[in-house]
């Protein structure tokens, strides 16, 4: 593919992600932080996020699987998850986390389970999207192009 075409689809794709609320301004900040001195910054952070999220989701699943759910512990995990997701701008995950924390406060195990499913789903969604975006980015880089700046927010 042509570089500019790649760039176009990259832009379009990121615009879509913003538009659908998967990502927010925080992700753009990350993108902006990526420069020559730190060319893989976004990838780094995102991979870190994936890693961290999977661990957290695992912890959450285990925590909710207990006979007596330790809501404090659960809440701590969700808090972590919320922090990570908001830091990379995974807005929808973050939003579910906020609801999740409220349910933890209410000690609503059923609601928590529902939220866990939801957060998993959102996570997988954003993961797929991010992976796709990063692939595009790598393609652009491979093709020798510069990663275009996203100049639009949702």
């Amino acid at each position: 593919m042509e570089v500019d075409q790649l760039q176009r689809s990259f832009l379009e794709y990121s615009r879509l992600l913003f538009h659908e609320g998967f990502l927010d301004g925080q992700f753009s900040q990350l993108q902006l932080l990526q420069d020559e001195s730190n060319p893989d910054f976004v990838l780094e952070v995102v991979s870190l996020f994936f890693e961290d999220s999977e661990r957290l989701l695992n912890d959450l699943t285990i925590a909710l699987d207990q006979q007596n759910v330790d809501f404090k512990k659960l809440d701590a995990h969700v808090h972590q998850f919320k922090g990570s997701s908001s830091s990379i701008g995974a807005q929808r995950v973050k939003n579910v986390c906020i609801a999740f924390r409220n349910l933890c406060d209410e000690q609503n195990a059923e609601g928590c389970l529902r939220c866990l499913q939801q957060v998993k789903q959102e996570y997988l969604l954003v993961k797929t999207k991010l992976e796709a975006l990063l692939r595009l980015e790598q393609q652009i880089v491979a093709a020798g192009g510069a990663i275009p700046m996203l100049n639009e927010f949702c």
Partner: protein
């Protein structure tokens, strides 16, 4: 015999009757409903009947009884009663007679029998005795009615007597004698009976005098009525056609018979209600229908009383009304109660209505609160993405752009900033309005605040303005108040003043004033519009009283309250008179063109005012168009008496010395005067360095300032305001738009273009104002400069510039920096990031790098303590929620160390500190206890509760997560020496 029994029986009957009734009243008495149990028969006698209460015109009564229908009826009743009694007597007599005649018959029969016996004797002398027995038998059957027992006895006796000698002459003689005797006895009995009959008839005659009986009956009825009515609150009367009293019962005690009888109401009483009652009676008289009415009397005789009056007409036999019967009952108490009840009911209804109203109001309030809350939430939601926009634009502005792009970008930045500012204002306002905003009471130094505010303002100054500040000698060194808010107000007012002032000066003047009541007057004279003062004063008084209570709880001498007045004056465009009333209203600006020309949200002054009032002071303005404005706020502060003690000493050494008039270290700030000349304009554009060039005037400072104040006593101004935490950034963002025209010039004048635009502007400033040029503004020369400027880091530029400053200047700006550490700190501030989330760490690190800082990272509070122990930091970014030890506790422990110089508390909290004691002692020497590291919280939610927690635990500020370039930068600018 039988008759005796009969009489006995009738007597019995009489006794029964008399036990039920008074002797002279028989069943007919029931018509009067008199029922009196026998045991209580004496009751009447015991009750002395007050005859006095009854005044009767007897003649009239007779007339009445004779002529009125009622009288007739009553008479008829009495007669009927009498007749009944007569009939009864007759009946009794008849019965007696019947008995007697029966007995007579019996006697006759006996006679006959005897005669027959005699005949038998004659006819069949020696005949059998059967006929006798038959007759005997027959007789028995014949006279069944007669009491048999007695007869039997009698006959038996006779028989016994006769049995002697049957059929002899003696027998017959005896027999005839016996019979003779019997006959005699019978006659005797008859005689007795006749006598008795006679007696009974005589009795009857004696009893039956009707008048006597009637009057007795009447008397009893009368007595009974007396008995019932004498204590009843009832007046009964009869009045004739002319409404003159003919009869009254229970009249007023002090009136005598002659006072009433024959007189009308009006003649007897005087006062309200008398006439009415008379008219009412007359009305009844005329209409001929009974009626009731309640009449309130107000007479001299018995005061205020309410009577329920019943009046019925009395008709003569011919149907004419001849008078009225009148009955009055006193119902004063009842009426009062009734009225009270009605009142209560009315009150209840009112109460209920009020309640409903209140509920409605509550509902509306709730609604509006919700709306406000929503506005706040929305604003909050808007802020996050918007800050993204602005920070992106900012970052973009650091890239290489051509002139046009830069202009566009500048516009974009300033617009974005305006919106941000607006949102912040809205959030602030809603915080104040919803009462969420809490005031802090912290020690602060007014001089320092004034200086900082002016510095900050000077830093973003785009105009040729002189900024001056004067703090009077009598202002305490340290006072207690909410320094953040006060700073916010000051900044607001100053930036407003600057905004609307194109030449001349803007200044702050602070001095102590007496208790502000007298001052209010003085002030309102000065004010062209004082309508705002009223509400303000009210608020103040309210808060004052609270404060007074506070004072009570502490000993008075400990923390006296001092009122400090702060004038912010300018020589700007002034405020037109017509705009005064709406000046402090939300979203109001002087005019549409003002908004166009000067921008702003119109919220700034409203917030200032609310804040001032929240703190118990008041804000006023005086202004003269084209000459300038003066905004004045007066606030109460507690004076901290424990100031200047040991814990200040090291701060004094580098920061505060200049502010203390008597310190003698610095001549510059000898009299609390700060002056910022306009020559530093350009350098601030680039580096946002508050260029402090304090100038000491040889002459009396207060005189000069008074002069200044007079200059600006009739000024006018418009105010825009920036939240304190945002101020520097906001200025920098707002700057480019206004400076855009300069930019073109700067392009042409630009000498140094290897730098970013900020550097260009820098140059522009210098060239424009070379006459005021500050010598050291040029001396930006160090290897680090180029390095940093290449990285588009303004902060480093400013840092470098700082190095060239005198130590004192630098220190005065950098309260967080320590003298001992200057050599390292000024090159690169040491920053510690405490955060457990790897992603946040990565992002924050990267952001900090972007801002030109390296950070040390630790993952929890305990590690942070160790890090702080190991090394001195200029700034700590602290996550709040962390495992092992959270940020709040860590901050507390660090503060505790700073105060005490020992880590005892931390050790107590179970933190293993790495350093052995011998190491730690030089360490603590190096970091003199008391030096305060700025600690910035990183919180997940920017809501005020959590901010309160942060402040309460000793944190200085907070940034909300996710951390962005922008809020990091703000924070660094505020807390790192630049």
């Amino acid at each position: 015999m039988g008759c005796e029994i009969e009489i006995d029986q009738s007597e019995d009957m009489d006794i029964v009757l008399s036990s039920m009734w008074p002797e002279n009243i028989n069943e007919a008495g029931r018509q009067f409903n008199i029922e009196r149990p026998g045991a209580d028969q004496d009751m009447l006698e015991e009750v002395t009947i007050n005859k006095e209460s009854n005044i009767v015109d007897f003649k009239r009564l007779m007339e009445l009884t004779n002529y009125s229908d009622k009288g007739n009826w009553q008479l008829a009743n009495l007669i009927k009663n009498w007749e009944y009694r007569q009939a009864n007597a007759v009946r009794l007599l008849r019965e007696e007679l019947e008995n007697l005649s029966k007995q007579q018959e019996e006697v006759e029969l006996k006679k006959l029998e005897i005669l027959e016996e005699h005949r038998f004797e004659k006819d069949g002398y020696g005949g059998d005795k059967r006929p006798i027995s038959v007759l005997d038998e027959h007789l028995k059957y014949l006279y069944q009615d007669a009491p048999r027992r007695k007869n039997d006895v009698i006959f038996r006796d006779e028989k016994i007597e006769i049995d002697a000698e049957y059929d002899s002459v003696i027998y017959w003689k005896q027999r005839s004698m016996n019979l003779e005797k019997l006959l005699e006895a019978s006659l005797q009995r008859e005689q007795i009976l006749l006598g008795k009959l006679q007696e009974s008839i005589e009795n009857l005659e004696r009893q039956s005098s009707p008048v006597e009986e009637l009057s007795q009956v009447l008397m009893r009825a009368d007595n009974f009525l007396h008995f019932v009515l004498q204590n009843a609150p009832v007046v009964i009367g009869h009045q004739d056609k002319e409404l003159r009293y003919r009869f009254i019962f229970n009249h007023f005690p002090s009136l005598r018979e002659e006072d009433i009888i024959g007189k009308t109401d009006v003649e007897i009483f005087k006062g309200a209600g008398v006439k009415e009652s008379q008219d009412f009676k007359r009305e009844v008289l005329e209409r001929g229908l009974p009626a009731k009415r309640e009449i309130t009397f107000e007479t001299e005789l018995f005061g205020t009383k309410i009577f329920l009056i019943y009046v019925e007409p009395v008709f003569s036999k011919t149907g004419e009304t001849i008078g009225v019967n009148y009955m009055g009952m006193e119902v004063t108490d009842q009426v009062r109660k009734r009225e009270k009840m009605a009142k209560l009911r009315e009150e209840m209804a009112v109460q209920k209505a009020k309640e409903t109203e209140l509920n409605k109001t509550i509902h509306i309030t709730e609604e509006s609160m919700r709306a406000k809350q929503m506005l706040a939430t929305m604003s909050h939601e808007i802020r996050s993405p918007l800050s993204g926009v602005v920070s992106m634009a900012e970052i973009l502005s650091h890239t290489k752009l051509d002139k046009e792009q830069r202009q566009l970008l500048n516009v974009m930045l300033s617009s974005g900033d305006l919106v941000l500012q607006l949102i912040n204002d809205i959030l602030d306002l809603s915080k104040v309005e919803s009462g969420v905003m809490k005031l802090e009471a912290t020690k602060f130094r007014p001089r320092e605040v004034v200086k900082h505010v002016l510095q900050t303002a000077a830093a973003s100054l785009q105009k040729l303005l002189t900024l001056e500040g004067h703090v009077a000698d009598d202002v305490p060194v340290e006072v207690i108040g909410d320094v953040l808010r006060i700073r916010q107000i000051l900044t607001n007012l100053v930036s407003n003043a600057i905004k609307f002032t194109h030449e001349g000066k803007v200044g702050i003047k602070i001095y102590v004033v007496p208790e502000p009541h007298s001052l209010t007057k003085q002030d309102s004279q000065k004010m062209s519009s004082d309508q705002t003062t009223d509400s303000a004063t009210m608020g103040k008084e309210l808060l004052m009283s609270e404060m007074e209570e506070d004072k009570v709880s502490h000993p008075d001498a400990e923390e006296p309250v001092v009122w400090i007045r702060c004038d912010v004056y300018d020589t700007g465009i002034g405020i037109p008179e017509h705009a005064m009333p709406t000046l402090f209203k939300k979203y109001m600006q002087v005019g549409a063109d003002t908004a166009r020309k000067y921008g702003g949200t119109g919220l700034g002054l409203a917030i200032c005012k609310q804040l001032v009032e929240l703190m118990g002071g008041y804000l006023t303005v005086s202004s003269k168009e084209h000459y300038g404005s003066t905004f004045t706020f007066i606030l109460p502060y507690k004076v901290s008496l424990i100031s200047d003690s040991s814990d200040d000493s090291d701060e004094l050494s580098h920061t505060e010395n200049q502010d203390f008039p008597n310190d003698g270290n610095d001549d510059d700030l000898h009299s609390g005067i700060f002056l910022f000349q306009p020559h530093t304009l350009a350098s601030q554009r680039s580096g946002r360095i508050p260029k402090l060039s304090p100038i000491t005037y040889g002459f009396n400072a207060s005189q000069r300032l008074n002069g200044l104040l007079e200059d600006s006593s009739s000024p006018s101004s418009r105010i825009t305001y920036k939240e304190t935490s945002l101020e520097e950034d906001a200025y920098s963002a707002a700057g480019p738009m206004e400076a855009s025209s300069d930019l073109e010039v700067s392009q042409t004048h630009s000498l140094l273009s290897n730098n970013s635009c900020s550097a260009e502007k820098n140059e522009l400033g210098h060239s424009d104002m070379n006459n005021h040029f500050h010598p050291y503004a040029h001396s930006t020369s160090s290897s680090r400069v180029s390095e940093n400027t290449n990285k588009t880091s303004e902060t480093s530029v400013s840092q470098e510039r700082y190095q060239t400053h005198e130590e004192r200047d630098r220190a005065s700006e950098c309260s967080s920096s320590n003298n001992a550490e200057i050599p390292t700190a000024e090159l690169k501030p040491k920053i510690l990031l405490v955060e457990d989330n790897k992603i946040i760490v990565t992002v924050t690190k990267s952001l900090m790098k972007q801002l030109g800082h390296n950070v040390d990272v630790v993952n929890n509070g305990a590690e942070a303590l160790r890090a702080v122990q190991r090394q001195s930091y200029d700034l700590i970014l602290m996550d709040v929620c962390m495992p092992v030890m959270d940020g709040l506790q860590a901050t507390r422990l660090i503060r505790s160390f700073e105060e005490t110089g020992s880590w005892d508390d931390a050790v107590k909290a179970g933190i293993e500190l790495q350093l052995p004691p011998e190491n730690s002692s030089p360490n603590s020497q190096q970091k003199k206890p008391g030096k305060r590291i700025p600690i910035i919280a990183m919180t997940a939610n920017a809501l005020s509760e959590s901010a309160d927690d942060c402040f309460a635990n000793g944190m200085d500020s907070f940034v909300s997560k996710p951390v962005t370039l922008q809020n990091l930068r703000q924070c660094l600018q505020q807390y790192l020496p630049e």
